[in-house]
Symmetry: C2
Subunit: 199 residues, 2 copies
């Protein structure tokens, strides 16, 4: 049996990638969503192994030192990372794995696992992204200006990805995503060893 | 505007690729089916430029000499080939082009236009192909034996293609084909220059 493929999806903040991933998993069950580890507190309603694997700071940094993350980052005093072991187990079992991670983490995965498939979710227009980033209009202007600056920088990373999907209508984005996974599975190097008729 | 992509589809005799192409064109209109040229007689109901471009032998061999074919072959005293000009015109206009050709011709295209996308239609099982090759059971056994021999050789070329689709249920095969075209259009190198938001 051939190994599974790792799909790494990211995009600028506010592009709606969480909604796309949710929509994908509802329509396409043959992919395993990787669960991140974090040192931040478990929130009401969250579950270990569903939302996150909750780790102590020492435990997390030990795991970093032992090379047990595919990628990790620190945001606002908390660590976040993708544990390697459950992903590798799924891939070895021939299952595809989906990582929804920040661009910074995706670039780290690309360096270490270039055979993964990198998908960038782009907004239809910059304006569309600005509208989303403004949120409910309650944030001060300088916070919004910083977000916009970051989002523009993030768009510059699109060229590092294998595929770009413009997230205009979410159902269409999900269909495009499924087309990519389907096509990747039909690639000769991926399927030829499994085809009875070609043995 | 970026150039269109050339899709080359073939497979062993009897695999049903004609039906797949017909089904594809019914569901997906954004691809232009290349029309072959031939020296064989026009048959009742056929139309110039729809079924074939009908050429005289001299005209055809002149075109060969001038390098005006993407690929050509001679079967049973008649020439068949894919004229280069209409295909290039479509590709330059940013349209995708579909070539349904024999494996021998596909390998010629691969040598000269390796940037094309090669799709191999495979039968679910060898037995399935045998059943189709036996046809209505009216052919002598040695003719069938030869067909089987050829089909087995043809299956050996699957590894030269970019994608392999197993033609079990034709509707599924058509959907897989559309997924491949969709995914190819979402490839970063194909779409990045067209995306307003990334300019």
């Amino acid at each position: 049996m051939s190994k599974g493929k790792m799909y790494v999806v990211s995009g600028p903040s506010g592009v709606g990638k969480g909604t796309v991933v949710k929509g994908l998993l509802e329509k396409y069950s043959e992919i395993f969503l990787s669960v991140s580890a974090t040192t931040r507190e478990k929130r009401e309603g969250e579950e270990e192994g569903i939302n996150y694997y909750y780790k102590g700071k020492q435990e997390f940094t030990d795991m970093i030192e032992k090379g047990e993350f595919l990628e990790w980052a620190k945001f606002c005093e908390n660590y976040y990372g993708t544990p390697k072991k459950p992903v590798e187990k799924m891939l070895d079992a021939g299952k595809d794995v989906l990582l929804e991670i920040e661009i910074q983490g995706a670039m780290e995965v690309k360096k270490n696992f270039p055979e993964s498939i990198f998908i960038f979710i782009a907004p239809p227009t910059v304006n569309d992204l600005l509208e989303r980033l403004k949120g409910r209009g309650t944030e001060p202007e300088d916070v919004i200006a910083l977000r916009v600056e970051t989002a523009k920088k993030e768009l510059g990373f699109a060229k590092e990805y294998d595929y770009i999907i413009v997230n205009d209508i979410v159902e269409k984005t999900v269909e495009d995503f499924i087309s990519i996974i389907t096509a990747e599975r039909l690639k000769t190097e991926r399927c030829i060893d499994e085809l009875e008729v070609l043995k």
